[in-house]
């Protein structure tokens, strides 16, 4: 019953968000009216100001600005000619090889910071975060992550990428380091450590997450750390089909301790993913993906394997003539792992399998160039043994303001509904998360 209430509440929240946030995200008509009012004020002020006189062509500082711009342009046009002839022949300060410090070939570097604030209604004991599903954030403020990203072509064959991440201001992690290479037409190879294409969410860095936290299913099935982020060799052909179809086959070292992490170094893990995409007219696309990974796990010497399966569906609507102003993304994923339990040689009995599956579905709606409202429902508890962990539902709503591609402020509300009190002593939790996400440096690559 409660779930129904919540789902209804969430829907009401989503559809009434424009009213709720009247000050910030009001309907387009009203907003324009407000804009007009402010503009009228400004016009009046300018006309009444001392500098404004009908006869004088120029007066106020603001108006001079337009002429200054024009002046600057003229100069610039003159410079343009000079530059096209000298640049690259004589070099400049950045590329001076004679100094031994040549910065011309520096990789493209971008830095990303994530500042978060969180409030949890339950369990605010220090150090309780991360101990159970859905509580990655402590009440308080934190620098969630600082990411350093460097990309450059290594030579005429390879492109190299390195991503370092600082978590919680103390640990540095090599999040990704890999090279890309196109050895033959239609085929690319990626080698190194990277976020593997197991579904859609697993590919993302924390600052690219559509919500402040990762979906429950990804955390429960693939692990709270980084999902399936492996040292791997991946072969990625495009298949000659009438639609876009990419296939990934990865041989991985199998280090994910939730899934693989065998006691033998020759136990590799394998991953396959098929990504298919169709255009639905000019303004929408449908993507369907299927993933499968398996490998020996570390529970015993026996043939105890983990199989991981996943399916994803994404519908993106983005009108071509207004790409930046309106779009809708509906994304859903199913993830499950089937992990054979250990065989105990002393009792000759096998431990129970650790199977778990989950789903999430989310909608991101861009109501304005800079405003998004989003909703997400997540569930974990499929394929679970009766004795194993209980069912968990999470309902999330998010409001995002993105002033530019380089900055966003997001406010998220979570309601987590656990099946019973369990060992945690409460069966419901409310969370409010706030995040500032900013990027400096080179332009981050757009994903689709």
């Amino acid at each position: 019953m409660q779930r129904f209430l919540l789902a209804t509440g969430l829907c009401v929240f989503l559809f009434s968000a424009p009213e709720i946030f009247a000050q910030t995200a009001k309907g387009p008509d009203e907003e324009l009216k407000e804009f007009e009012k402010l503009m009228d004020q400004e016009i009046l002020e300018t006309m009444e100001s001392k500098e404004y006189e009908e006869e004088k062509p120029l007066g106020s500082k603001e108006l001079k600005r337009l002429d200054l711009m024009e002046e600057r342009l003229k100069k610039v046009e003159g410079v343009a000619r000079q530059r096209t002839t000298t640049f690259g022949t004589r070099g400049n300060a950045l590329g001076a090889t004679s100094t031994g410090v040549n910065r011309l070939f520096n990789p493209a570097i971008s830095l990303n910071g994530l500042f978060t604030g969180a409030y949890r209604s339950e369990d605010n004991r220090k150090g309780s975060s991360g101990s159970a599903l859905g509580n990655e954030f402590d009440t308080g403020f934190d620098v969630q992550e600082l990411e350093f990203n460097a990309v450059a072509f290594v030579d005429n064959f390879l492109k190299g990428v390195m991503v370092l991440a600082l978590h919680d201001l103390d640990a540095i992690e090599i999040e990704e380091t890999y090279v890309d290479f196109v050895p033959f037409q239609n085929l690319s190879i990626r080698a190194g450590k990277y976020f593997t294409p197991f579904g859609r969410h697993n590919l993302l860095h924390a600052h690219q997450f559509p919500f402040i936290d990762a979906p429950l299913a990804n955390v429960a099935v693939l692990g709270a750390e980084d999902g399936i982020n492996e040292v791997a060799l991946g072969i990625n052909p495009i298949l000659p089909l009438p639609w876009f179809s990419e296939f990934n086959f990865l041989i991985m070292d199998g280090r994910n301790d939730e899934l693989f992490d065998s006691d033998f170094s020759d136990d590799l893990a394998y991953l396959m993913h098929s990504k298919n995409l169709w255009d639905l007219g000019e303004n929408a696309t449908l993507e369907l993906g299927a993933s499968y990974a398996f490998g020996q796990n570390g529970t015993s010497f026996e043939d105890t394997r983990t199989h991981v399966v996943g399916g994803d569906m994404t519908l993106i609507w983005s009108p071509l003539n207004r790409t930046r102003f309106r779009s809708l993304i509906w994304q859903s994923e199913y993830l499950a792992k089937f992990k054979s339990g250990a065989f105990d040689p002393t009792t000759a009995a096998a431990a129970p399998d650790e199977d778990v599956g989950g789903v999430y579905t989310s909608i991101q709606y861009q109501i304005h160039q800079r405003w998004w409202i989003q909703g997400r429902y997540g569930f974990v508890g499929l394929h679970q043994d009766a004795r194993a962990d209980e069912d968990t539902h999470r309902y999330s709503a998010l409001l995002a303001f993105a002033n530019s591609e380089f900055q966003s402020i997001r406010l998220q509300y979570n309601f987590i509904d656990f099946e019973d009190n369990g060992s945690r002593g409460f069966d419901e939790e409310h969370q409010v998360l706030l995040q500032l996400n900013f990027t400096i440096g080179s332009h981050p690559a757009h994903t689709y």
Binding site: L32, E77, P240, D279, P345
Partner: protein
């Protein structure tokens, strides 16, 4: 206890190899050269130069903002078949083209290859190259200068030459045809150029407000001038204060034309017109931006006619 494991890798490899054979079928034998361009402008000129020797596709629709294109995988599929990629460069497509090239797994169109042609290399002068240090506080500024050069018909001619030159390298057997086609296109543009100059002659020096600086090269050619832009800085939405300034300045200078490229929402332009007593012209800035503009000459013709018509109805200059 022995370690007991069956190796299923074999099965997988078989399955994968099957896929490999599938895509390994020879799909690279084209009778025609496949050209993919980022915009309709480049596509239309490539059609003129290549005619029946080429097949031309483009990514960004004529009514779409070329600064912001989603790197859809379907474009990667298109790019996968390309022998030659034509793009504006100067970072116009910087946020989306690299992903499409990479996703295409097409070695021919990678940077530095003969199948990769940055059309800005032949353009001189490049307008509005920022001086000094470029910074994100300036908005989505074009750091290497204004890339909207195809709106100047003289540049249109240069583009045809660059294409003929590159096509001759990729397909030397038809070198003469490509150059002859380019010459033919250029002579048609050249004869029109006089007419266009005449139509806009009376309005030389007129100041016009535009949404974005998409018009710089067109204005440069025909002696028109900006009064200002609706966006505060490239890619940054206007503020009431900024539009108020523009409105006052329009009245003061008796300038009354506002050009709004058809992929920008016209609401700000309309508001500005209301406050300044000006008029808005929503115009295509690329070929196929409106159903009636399907060739390069048709586009420039249309723009010249529309602007001349709007300006001749104006109160002053």
């Amino acid at each position: 206890m022995l370690k007991n494991k069956s190796v299923p890798v074999g099965n997988l490899l078989v399955a994968w190899c099957l896929g490999f054979f599938l895509f390994g079928t020879p799909a690279n034998v084209h009778a025609k050269l496949h050209i993919v361009s980022t915009t309709t402008d480049l596509a239309a000129i490539a059609e003129e130069v290549g005619r029946n020797l080429v097949e031309v596709n483009f990514i960004c629709r004529g009514y779409q903002d070329p600064h912001y294109v989603d790197p859809k995988p379907s474009f990667m599929r298109l790019m996968n078949q390309a022998d030659l990629l034509l793009y504006h460069g100067l970072d116009l497509e910087g946020t989306w083209l690299p992903q499409i090239i990479e996703g295409s797994r097409n070695r021919k169109v990678r940077f530095g290859q003969m199948g990769n042609l940055d059309m800005s290399l032949g353009i001189d002068p490049i307008l509005e190259i920022p001086q000094g240090i470029v910074d994100r506080s300036m908005g989505d500024i074009h750091p290497f200068g204004n890339p909207h050069y195809s709106m100047d018909p003289v540049n249109g001619m240069t583009l045809a030459d660059s294409m003929a030159e590159r096509l001759s390298i990729l397909d030397p057997d038809n070198e003469k045809t490509y150059h002859a086609n380019a010459e033919d296109f250029k002579s048609r543009v050249a004869s029109k150029l006089k007419e266009w100059h005449e139509k806009l002659h009376d309005f030389e020096g007129t100041r016009i407000v535009t949404y974005h600086r998409s018009w710089s090269y067109f204005f440069h050619r025909f002696g028109l001038k900006y009064l200002g832009n609706i966006e505060i800085r490239p890619g940054i939405l206007p503020s009431p204060r900024h539009l108020a300034e523009l409105a006052v300045e329009m009245k003061r200078r008796k300038s009354d034309l506002i050009l709004n490229a058809n992929y920008y929402p016209p609401k700000w332009a309309e508001l500005l017109a209301k406050k300044s007593g000006g008029r808005v012209a929503v115009l295509p800035v690329h070929i196929k931006g409106e159903p009636q503009v399907n060739t390069y000459i048709e586009l420039i013709d249309y723009l010249v006619d529309q602007i001349a018509e709007k300006l001749s109805g104006s109160a002053g200059k």
